[in-house]
């Protein structure tokens, strides 16, 4: 008898626990959704107000994860904001979340096409081949893939890639980092030679290489003696590995400032624990790291969604490769956290941003960095006697050969994201040391 009563009690307790868990999580998630919607609205700047008839439009979105991933949240917010801005009703757009990078992506895309979507977006690199497969099967539906590389070689009228010149945002973030280093040198906290930054990267992929190099060049533009160590985690999201990587960079390698290109809070929180200044990515981490967060850059996908949906509605051609810039509002930097940043950072960034926009400054200006070439590294580069980069055959067309096919250096700078939207800068420049290249 006692046993059964105890079991029943136990069951009731478990049930009530589960019920509490369920009900308390609900308001939290709606609150977060409201917040993000509000944030998305407030970032809407000047919109081009041309009226296009949206009544026949239906839009499908495919996301790798759900709101719990910062990467996907950035896309989800942009998707919802763009649809609202274009005056679409809720039954005019469908979000498919947690779609893996496999046949499921094709199934999801085909299912959205069956449901009458005129245009379908996917957000993850690994979705690309499956989107192409669907694009071939549904020639009347537009397929847009963020971060992909194959649109310009596939030659399909209804398949498109998009990215943003995020290297400009990274460069600006780098300037803020360089100014912080200068302040630390002035205060006597570090020597000029001790100005060493650490960078936690995901993969040795062009997108990451382009990102950390532009970040470094931004810092170098204001703090010439800076050097940087880069370590790779081999994952886009691995909180433990990223935290450990930041820890190692700070304690073993003597890095005095950290930045990262991976999607978890691992590196920023480690910096906060150790009191080391941090430049974040994908959005502000100031709430979790009030004392060390300097600035962050991110891609805002809303302008692209708006552009592509509008073009589709108007029956116009969508670019095979669309690269968002500072001007289109696709590349954003967050507010500077005055508590961590050097004084005058905001003003300086405004100035550099203007120079990037009018073309008087180029991020990959070959006058600003040198390259060492040997049998294994930078094999596609041509370098003059002083180490200056004079030519580079970039691997713009994706194939299994890894061979350079497009000359990317001209007019004294490396033309990033011009021959296709996804980054292809994968040089190793002097001053940056790769600690563990995972091959």
């Amino acid at each position: 008898m006692k046993k059964i009563v105890a079991m029943a009690l136990g069951a009731v307790m478990i049930a009530s626990l589960a019920a509490c868990g369920g009900s308390s999580s609900k308001p939290a998630s709606t609150e977060a959704a409201q917040e993000s919607a509000a944030a998305a609205e407030s970032t809407d700047g000047g919109a081009s107000g041309e009226a296009v008839d949206m009544s026949n439009m239906k839009v499908g979105f495919i996301f790798l994860h759900d709101e719990n991933s910062t990467y996907d949240l950035n896309f989800i917010n942009a998707a919802e904001a763009a649809c609202k801005k274009l005056g679409m009703t809720e039954d005019q757009y469908m979000l498919k979340k947690n779609v893996p990078e496999g046949q499921e992506c094709y199934d999801a895309a085909a299912d959205l096409a069956d449901a009458g979507c005129n245009i379908i977006f996917a957000d993850s690199f690994g979705h690309e081949d499956f989107m192409i497969q669907a694009a071939k099967e549904f020639p009347d539906v537009q397929f847009c893939h963020a971060t992909g590389t194959k649109a310009h070689t596939e030659g399909l009228d209804n398949y498109h890639n998009a990215f943003a010149s995020i290297y400009e945002g990274r460069y600006l973030a780098g300037v803020a980092a360089g100014m912080k280093l200068n302040q630390m040198i002035e205060d006597g906290k570090i020597t000029e030679d001790g100005a060493k930054m650490g960078y936690v990267g995901a993969y040795t992929y062009a997108e990451v290489i382009s990102g950390y190099t532009s970040f470094y060049l931004g810092a170098k533009s204001v703090c010439p003696s800076v050097t940087m160590d880069v370590t790779f985690t081999g994952s886009w999201y691995d909180e433990t590995a990223e935290k450990e990587a930041a820890h190692k960079l700070i304690t073993d390698d003597g890095c005095v400032l950290i930045s990262q290109h991976a999607d978890s809070m691992g590196a920023p929180t480690e910096c906060e624990d150790q009191g080391v200044p941090d430049v974040s990515y994908n959005g502000s981490t100031v709430d979790a790291c009030p004392n060390t967060f300097i600035i962050s850059s991110r891609i805002n996908w809303e302008p692209y969604y708006e552009y592509a949906i509008k073009a589709c509605a108007a029956g116009e051609k969508i670019d095979a490769d669309w690269t968002g810039t500072l001007q289109t509002g696709s590349v954003e930097i967050t507010e500077v956290n005055d508590k961590a940043a050097a004084p005058g950072t905001t003003e300086k960034l405004e100035e550099v941003k203007k120079a990037l926009e009018d073309g008087s400054v180029h991020v990959f200006d070959t006058a600003n960095f040198t390259v060492t070439k040997d049998d294994k590294t930078n094999v596609n580069a041509t370098v003059d006697g002083s180490g200056k980069l004079t030519g580079y055959m970039a691997d713009v067309d994706t194939d299994a050969e890894y061979k350079g096919d497009t000359e990317a250096v001209s007019d004294g700078y490396f033309h990033e994201s011009e021959y296709r939207s996804a980054p292809y800068f994968d040089l190793q420049i002097d001053g940056i040391k790769l600690l563990d290249t995972k091959m």
Partner: protein, 365 residues
């Protein structure tokens, strides 16, 4: 209360229940589960539960494509469950389905990448079949060998083999990645389609479904009408009995795990050559574990597993549709699935046991 009388309620094993009564109890459990889900849905989201159920059904059946995808998902889950069932029936806790599927995927992908343009199509296909089955069988045989030889704990061993399989996959993805540094292989042989299963008509999934149907028939016969199947049942009931009647227990364990792993490896082949045409670490997607539940719920009967894998596949597709249509988090849909499975597993208790009041045999009640 008097000790001699015993507790007010007590649980007793039921004699074997006729099949229609058992299925009646299961049906009642399903209805209760749906009512519980409806109450929770209304309380937490304010949605009309009937709309939610309608969406769940629509998500599976409203277009021919959705039906095919459901059948494909069912087949994959069923195929892994068919692989696990003989091991479980032998009371060898093989929770390494995930890893066995992944090495099958890896082996298939390796042949497609390395030999895709070097050998003629039929040879390539035969190689893919042989290599994927062998890889899965090996992944099953290793823990079985150590279990038979040194009596190691097979639960931990097969679990660890999952991680080894995943890391092996991760390593080779980096070796074959396109473009460089991306950590992705992309679709293999997209232009030549070398090593891809042929489509039947215009259908991508039919061949996979037919293969799994054939495996189901084979396993049904193997488990019920062959000497091997009988040996598995005896070893599962009692190893001592098996030894006493002259069954070589070690041999049966290793042989059965080879078969178990090989069928999981075959699932890997279906996933890579039949549908995905790429290799990633998430190809098995947790189905190696879900299949344990599928097999248990069906009591390792191949025919029963058709229904249980249908149920799980239906619920999971329906759950995804709910989260898409109502903008709910996927976790909510998972909660509903969890409740339904809880009730169904719970109903087995009432099929196998009955609760008696103390009054049995006494007149006072």
């Amino acid at each position: 209360m008097n000790d001699k009388k015993g507790p007010l309620f007590h649980v007793a094993r039921r004699p074997h229940m006729v099949w229609y009564k058992a299925w009646g109890i299961r049906a009642i459990a399903l209805i209760l589960a749906l009512i519980a889900c409806a109450v929770i849905t209304t309380l937490l989201t304010g949605l009309n539960p009937l709309d939610v159920y309608a969406t769940m059904i629509k998500g599976n059946l409203s277009t021919p494509r959705r039906v095919w995808v459901l059948l494909q998902e069912l087949s994959i889950l069923l195929c892994i469950s068919l692989g696990l069932a003989p091991a479980f029936k032998m009371k060898f806790w093989n929770i390494g389905g995930e890893g066995q599927v992944l090495v099958g995927c890896l082996a298939t992908g390796a042949v497609m990448i390395l030999l895709g343009d070097k050998v003629p199509g039929p040879v390539l296909m035969i190689l893919m079949i042989v290599v994927s089955l062998a890889a899965g069988a090996l992944w099953g045989a290793i823990p079985a060998f150590f279990k038979a030889k040194y009596n190691t704990n097979e639960t931990l061993f097969t679990l660890m083999m999952n991680y080894v399989g995943t890391q092996l996959m991760a390593y080779f993805i980096i070796v074959w990645e396109v473009p460089k540094g991306s950590g992705k292989v992309g679709i293999i042989n997209q232009a030549s389609e070398a090593g891809w299963f042929p489509m039947i008509g215009h259908n991508k999934y039919l061949l996979n479904i037919l293969i799994v149907a054939a495996v189901t028939v084979f396993m049904y016969i193997y488990m019920n009408y062959t000497k091997h199947g009988y040996e598995i049942a005896v070893v599962g009931e009692s190893q001592n009995t098996a030894r006493y009647v002259g069954i070589n227990v070690k041999k049966v364990i290793i042989r059965t795990m080879c078969l178990s792993g090989a069928i999981c490896g075959l699932t890997g082949l279906l996933l890579v050559a039949g549908t995905n045409h790429t290799i990633t670490t998430s190809l098995a997607g947790g189905r190696g574990f879900t299949a344990v539940m599928v097999a248990w719920m069906a009591k390792f009967s191949p025919i029963g597993m058709i229904f249980t894998s249908f149920l799980i596949a239906f619920l999971s597709k329906g759950a995804t549709e709910i989260s898409t249509m109502f903008g709910l988090n996927q976790s909510f849909a998972d909660i509903l699935t969890g409740i339904i499975i809880f009730f169904i597993i719970g109903s087995e208790f009432f099929i196998n046991y009955q609760i008696r009041r103390r009054s049995d045999g006494e007149k006072e009640a």
